[in-house]
């Protein structure tokens, strides 16, 4: 853009006078929240964002909820497509409808040519109304363009000659909405305000939960390509005005935010210096105004906007490509005052009008202090998802899969962003562009590097698999022991010499037969359950089938099998099912071999009615094996069993919620899939096995126990851990692994972490990550324990350690860690000799593969300085 940004800013100088004169105490106190966003190549109705929001109820407190939708449907919006795409969709919320005529006369009709106007439909359902603490405002939609003569005058008055006329009109709309908000929100006691004014997008918000927005404004069937939603948790008790709820608008974007800036006032001041005046007194409004300033006024590309918000620092900066460094440095120097400090996570939905595409963007702060999960579904329907919790993503997919059978109930990939990093930049962008008759989704990171999933599956076969399983049929290949069945399954997958359709049909038959066999007897049930968990847990070549679909189907089979076990033990059947309705009447345990299945569907997320108490109840009644079925975000599994719970086993299918196994003192907890945040806090004894990734602050303050993680850990694993924890993480961590680790001397009974730095390729083979640990803080400030990191290429450097040092990997070190690697092999099938100690096809001795990191004061005999060089 050649136009001088300063002239736009000067044109806003009148706005400075409108700065609200409020004391600090009148500032909206913002708490944390639950956020979710999805972008899809097909237009999705609003009810699909409803499910994830309802499951994240506990991240809000019913004092604010909102959604934004981008890429709407002309018929539903009651305007022709050209109007929808070209006109500004101004939505004014009237808290006092008697002000409408006045506001329309003063602003809308005076400044705009309105093509269509109508009041947004409201629900009269008494149940919906009863759920709302405050009746939401009347919202009017105006599809409008600036009156040409008013725009001409505006351009002259604000000194915008030479600016592209359409962009001048954008500024006209921005300033008009500001004037309305100032007049009716700030000066006239919050009678009305502009909810959104972007093209082809809406923002709706209420005082209440986010689902109330969808119900009240009847958005269940309104379709859009991009949706974001927000459950607000303001700290303040009484909230009567939806103005403070998220999303907040820039021009063509809506932003939701989870977190809280420490430097709200300085960002505010920075904006004031640029004549950008916040009126709603929340850090979210400030965030979106900052985004708008960098985007629309300064015309920065998205990469630079993200850099200005979440700067690349420390080691990550030095690892940037040389050509980026001067630019990033300049951005940081210019914008560091406005870089939000503290915990934050933004999800932005926007309509890139000038580039003719829609975007969904998730940006995490440099320190990754808020939870965040990204996910991608490829295929006929492409979907990009971002949420605070994985379970919210799964809830959305579950809902969407009803309408679109080609969408599996699990995403093809889940991952976390590493904030302010040179690897992914801490941000991912899902862009929807027109292609053919529809839309195409592309996912890129901050550096515009696309994320491609090599799925390599056939779509028609996948649709065959979308058919529900029926418990019938028989298939000789499911006979025998679970391991044999699994081996048979593996060997047939890639080699079936048949059409894709037949292959899928074969799998479908196989799983139906599995379910049928499981119903024969308890022994069959156990074998089939073991077979299915191997399908879920192991990495293998999916042989032209879609892996997420195989897992989806296996999970479906598990659900079918376990939901059909009896509700009372007996008749030689030692499995017993309870669900929410009979949770209070858990039968007495039947001793050895008894398995209590708790069907989590319908259980609340926490509290006395939550499944965690059902587990404790079962434990007290003598059950020693509890299986949690279809978990979808329920928290605190395994908490409250008390000390000495050895012999208890908890198995989880689905997505368990936060704080799983926190406090565990003896029992074993196994998760068949990914787990979420705060696992194993203060864990003292027992065993935790996760066949997937774990989230933030894994084993914070742990005292002992064993943990095995197949995938990655997010930020801050094992921070402040003491005692004797023994942990194997096969992937890597975002950063801050084992900060302030105090776990004694690893060779004398202390604790340690083994970090293998591996991942799996599409064929299920073990491959090394490009770097075993990408972060700049490893074992910082530690005073005990050790990290054994698999780094045969010696890629880690001293500057990552911050207090620790590389030590020699001795035979006794290897003897200490080998039993844990053997157990890791048993659990995950990662062979010590064939995978871990084999580098580039060569078998190497342990000391050439693993490196030991220990406290800087520790020095073993005969040690000079560094570990063995390769």
């Amino acid at each position: 853009m050649t136009f001088d940004a300063l002239r736009i800013l000067e044109g806003r100088s009148w706005m400075r006078e409108c700065r609200p004169r409020l004391s600090r105490s009148q500032m909206e106190a913002e708490g944390g929240c639950g956020v979710v966003g999805l972008a899809a190549s097909v237009a999705l109705p609003g009810r699909h964002i409803l499910e994830p929001l309802m499951q994240m109820h506990n991240r809000g407190n019913g004092k604010g909820g909102g959604i934004a939708a981008v890429g709407l449907e002309p018929v539903q919006m009651r305007v022709p497509r050209e109007v929808l795409e070209d006109h500004y969709l101004v939505q004014v919320a009237y808290l006092d409808p008697s002000f409408r005529r006045e506001l329309e006369a003063e602003f809308i009709d005076d400044r705009y040519e309105v093509h269509t106007r109508y009041q947004v439909e409201e629900s009269e359902d008494p149940l919906v109304l009863a759920a709302l603490p405050v009746r939401p405002p009347q919202v009017w939609r105006y599809f409008c363009r600036a009156r040409p003569e008013r725009l001409d005058a505006f351009i002259v008055e604000r000194g915008l000659q030479g600016l592209d006329r359409r962009r001048a009109e954008d500024e006209f709309v921005y300033q008009t909405s500001f004037a309305i908000n100032h007049q009716y929100y700030v000066r006239k006691d919050m009678r009305a305000f502009v909810m959104s004014h972007g093209r082809n997008m809406i923002i709706m918000k209420v005082v209440g939960y986010a689902e109330d927005v969808i119900h009240f404004y009847r958005l269940e069937e309104v379709t859009a390509h991009v949706w974001i939603g927000h459950q607000r948790y303001p700290t303040k008790g009484k909230v009567w005005h939806p103005g403070g709820a998220h999303p907040f608008m820039g021009l063509d974007e809506g932003l939701v935010h989870n977190g809280d800036f420490a430097n709200y006032h300085s960002v505010n001041e920075y904006l004031m210096q640029k004549n950008v005046v916040p009126l709603f007194l929340t850090d979210t409004e400030v965030s979106v105004l900052l985004f708008d300033l960098l985007n629309r006024t300064y015309g920065y590309p998205l990469e630079y906007i993200i850099e200005a918000l979440a700067p690349t620092t420390e080691r990550d900066f030095y690892n940037l490509p040389e050509e980026k460094k001067p630019v990033y440095q300049a951005i940081q120097r210019t914008h560091v005052h406005a870089s939000p400090d503290g915990p934050w996570f933004f999800i932005i939905a926007r309509n890139c009008f000038y580039e003719d595409r829609y975007q969904l963007i998730g940006i995490t702060d440099t320190s990754m202090l808020r939870p965040q999960v990204f996910a991608l579904v490829e295929g006929e329907v492409q979907i990009g998802l971002i949420a605070s919790e994985k379970q919210a993503i799964d809830a959305a997919l579950r809902s969407i899969s009803h309408d679109h059978p080609s969408v599996p109930r699990q995403a093809d990939a889940y991952w976390n962003a590493r904030g302010g990093s040179h690897t992914d930049g801490g941000a991912f962008i899902f862009s929807l562009s027109k292609k053919g008759g529809g839309m195409e989704l592309e996912c890129t990171n901050k550096f515009s590097i696309p994320i491609h999933l090599e799925l390599g599956y056939d779509r028609s076969e996948d649709l065959v698999l979308a058919e529900p399983l029926a418990p019938n049929g028989c298939d000789r290949s499911v006979e025998g022991r679970a391991d044999e069945v699994f081996q048979r399954f593996l060997s047939t997958l890639p080699t079936i010499d048949a059409t894709a359709f037949q292959k899928a049909a074969a799998l479908q038959r196989l799983l139906c037969a599995t379910v049928a066999r499981a119903r024969r007897s308890e022994a069959d049930l156990r074998e089939m359950l073991r077979f299915l968990t191997q399908i879920l847990d192991r990495h293998y070549s999916s042989g032209g089938l879609r892996r997420s679909r195989i897992n989806d189907k296996a999970m479906e089979a598990v659900n079918l099998i376990l939901r059909s076990v009896p509700r009372t033990p007996g008749n030689g059947m030692r499995f017993c099912l309870v669900d929410r309705d009979d949770r209070s009447s858990i039968p007495i345990g039947i001793g050895e071999g008894g398995v209590l299945v708790v069907d989590c569907r319908g259980f609340p997320m926490e509290g006395p009615e939550g499944p965690s108490f059902a587990i404790c109840d079962a434990y007290e009644k003598g059950w020693r094996h509890v299986v949690l079925l279809d978990a979808h975000g329920q928290r605190f599994f395994g908490c409250g069993l008390g000390p000495g719970s050895q012999g208890m086993k908890i198995e989880v299918f689905g997505t368990p919620g936060d704080y799983l196994a926190s406090g565990l003192s003896g029992a074993e907890v196994e998760v068949h899939g990914n787990a979420q945040d705060q696992l194993g806090q203060i864990m003292a004894a027992g065993k935790l096995i996760v066949h997937g990734d774990v989230g933030q602050t894994f084993m914070y303050g742990a005292k002992g126990g064993e943990a095995y993680v197949l995938g990655n850990a997010a930020g801050r694993p094992l921070i402040n851990a003491v005692g004797t924890p023994r942990v194997v993480i096969n992937g890597t961590c975002l950063d801050y692994l084992a900060e302030s680790f105090m776990a004694g001397d690893p060779l004398n009974g202390g604790g340690f972490v083994i970090l293998n730095g591996i991942t799996f390729d599409a064929q299920g083979g073990v491959v090394d990550l490009s770097i075993p640990y990408p972060g700049g803080n490893l074992f910082s400030l530690a005073s005990g324990g050790a990290i054994y990191i698999r780094d045969p290429k010696r890629m880690l450097t001293e500057d990552q350690l911050n207090g620790g040092r590389f030590g020699r990997m001795t035979d006794s070190d290897w003897e200490t860690i080998l039993p844990y690697l053997r157990e890791n092999e048993r659990l995950f099938g990662i062979s010590v000799e064939d995978c871990l100690l084999r580098v580039g096809g060569r078998a190497l001795p342990p000391r050439k593969v693993y490196r030991k990191i220990h406290v800087s004061s520790a020095r073993s005999a005969g040690e000079d300085s560094l570990d063995d060089e390769i």
């Binding site: 639950g34 700290t235 509290g607 409250g640 806090q681 933030q696 914070y700 003491v722 105090m742």
Partner: protein, 497 residues
């Protein structure tokens, strides 16, 4: 705990201190040149100089009764009349070396005296207020005279800590003990506090350094703390506790985690915390698992899932938006919002942080009290104040400002003989063995002796509250809550000096 507010008033007994010599304000010296003429005895109206009946020699001067060098203006001033110039009067060096503006010498001595005797001091005793020139030291009650006779059993000091409609959790005085960790104070100090709190039917707190097994017999009276380092926090300690205190911040050092320097981290302490001995142990400044209010709710829910019966207390320091923190904690499920002001902290809290960061507790209490009242939730949550609550009158003032009760720490240590030297963190710690982890030092302190001293102090305080309530025409401590109208700001610089 019983409903009967009288059951938990323990007996007081005289607990002399062998190691704490009574310190006098002035020193009266009589030289050998004295001829025992007896003139001073006849002059002094206070009885400093006395002669036993039938004895020739005058007894050594009774320093405690002397009014000091200012007596020079009186015509009965002994020094100027002594025929042999044998007498002199001067300020006591020990006296002036002891104490500081917040904990004045008078206050330390008064606390020792109450801990020794269990008898209360008059409400206008100089030991009831400090001379910091601000805060509680500038507040006074608008009260009438204290009646001559008081029936202590007629006053109700009970407060209920659970206002969320759960099981009643009443403590018989509006005071419980704050968290001081194993390591920061000695095991004997912890046990003495626990014994005293059991006798009084109130609580004490483990602090963040683990739950020593010696406290288990007192578990019904022992609150356990979850602080940012999670040291010693285990499921069994949470399950054992009637109340769990989440220490988000400490008023003495907001923005800083707890820290135990290497010297005090003896093998025993390290074992309790399961850390490496002789290394400095720092707790992080935040909970790494809690960066926002919904995380906070989740954190509380977690502990409730481990021990659903525990009261949940959220201890926070006093930032500018303390009322937002308080309401957020309430909505997250806290039974108790515990505001920790900036005056507290042992010598281990860095000097630069103490008194310099957090908002004074006297501002924070009414701010939060009013905000919670306006929000309509004040009756559903217990508001506890701490951080520099030194005397019975400080307690009463905190309650009059809007708190339900208070948490004390230093006052209990002073009752055990702390001289406020402020060297808690250095070397092996406290020379008196209160804040030490060295057995040679801490075995000085016998737990029964210590418990009775604390019992006595609280008995004296209870009597003082009775006096105060009587002079205000009240009979229950909860009537005083939020009665800022009964407080008077005392202007002028030299009021208490």
């Amino acid at each position: 705990m019983s409903d009967d507010h009288l059951v938990c008033v323990p007996e007081t007994t005289w607990v002399p201190s062998e190691k704490l010599k009574f310190i006098n304000r002035y020193v009266v010296e009589r030289k050998d040149t004295c001829i025992s003429c007896g003139l001073c005895e006849t002059l002094c109206p206070y009885g400093v100089h006395r002669r036993m009946e039938g004895h020739v020699k005058i007894l050594p001067p009774y320093h405690r009764l002397c009014i000091g060098p200012s007596c020079a203006s009186n015509d009965f001033y002994c020094v100027s009349h002594c025929p042999t110039s044998s007498l002199s009067v001067r300020n006591s060096e020990t006296f002036s070396a002891l104490g500081d503006v917040r904990w004045t010498t008078d206050m330390i001595l008064a606390t020792w005296q109450m801990a020794e005797t269990g008898e209360s001091l008059p409400l206008d005793h100089p030991g009831n207020v400090g001379s910091s020139g601000g805060g509680f030291d500038r507040l006074n009650f608008k009260r009438g005279p204290v009646p001559d006779t008081i029936d202590y059993s007629e006053f109700d000091m009970v407060i209920d800590l659970d206002r969320r409609g759960g099981e009643r959790r009443r403590i018989s005085i509006p005071v419980y003990g704050g968290g001081m960790s194993y390591g920061s104070v000695s095991l004997h100090t912890m046990v003495a506090r626990a014994k005293a709190c059991r006798a009084w039917g109130t609580y004490t707190c483990t602090g963040e350094g683990g739950y020593p097994k010696e406290l288990i017999p007192y578990r019904e009276n022992v609150v356990t703390q979850i602080a940012t380092g999670l040291f010693g926090v285990r499921e069994e300690t949470i399950k054992r506790a009637p109340m769990v205190e989440f220490k988000y911040a400490q008023g003495a050092k907001p923005g800083l985690g707890g820290h135990l320097l290497g010297d005090k981290n003896t093998p025993l302490v390290a074992k309790m915390r399961e850390a490496v001995p002789n290394t400095s142990l720092f707790s992080p400044f935040p909970f790494h698992s809690v960066y926002s209010v919904e995380d906070h709710k989740k954190h509380l829910d977690w502990i409730a899932s481990i021990n659903p019966k525990a009261l949940l207390s959220v201890k926070v320091s006093t930032p500018n938006d303390v009322e937002m923190v308080a309401i957020g904690s309430y909505y997250a499920g806290a039974h108790i919002v515990h505001l920790d002001g900036g005056y507290g902290g042992t010598g281990a809290a860095p000097e630069i942080a103490k008194k310099n960061i957090a908002m004074p507790i006297e501002y924070a209490i009414p701010k939060v009290h009013r905000f919670l009242s306006d929000e309509g939730v004040r009756e559903n949550v217990t508001l506890i104040a701490s951080g520099g609550i030194r005397t019975a009158l400080d307690v009463a003032k905190a309650i009059a400002l809007g708190a339900d009760g208070v948490v004390i720490g230093t006052a209990e240590l002073v009752a055990l003989g702390c001289v406020r030297c402020g060297n808690c963190e250095s070397g092996r710690g406290c020379p008196r063995g209160i804040a030490s982890t060295d057995p040679v030092l801490y075995l000085q302190l016998d737990t029964d002796w210590g418990a009775q001293r604390i019992i006595n102090l609280l008995s004296a305080w209870r009597k003082q509250w009775c006096h105060l309530l009587a002079s205000l025409g009240m009979s229950g401590i909860s009537e005083l809550r939020g009665r800022t109208d009964l407080l008077r700001y005392v202007g002028g610089k030299e009021v208490f000096s």
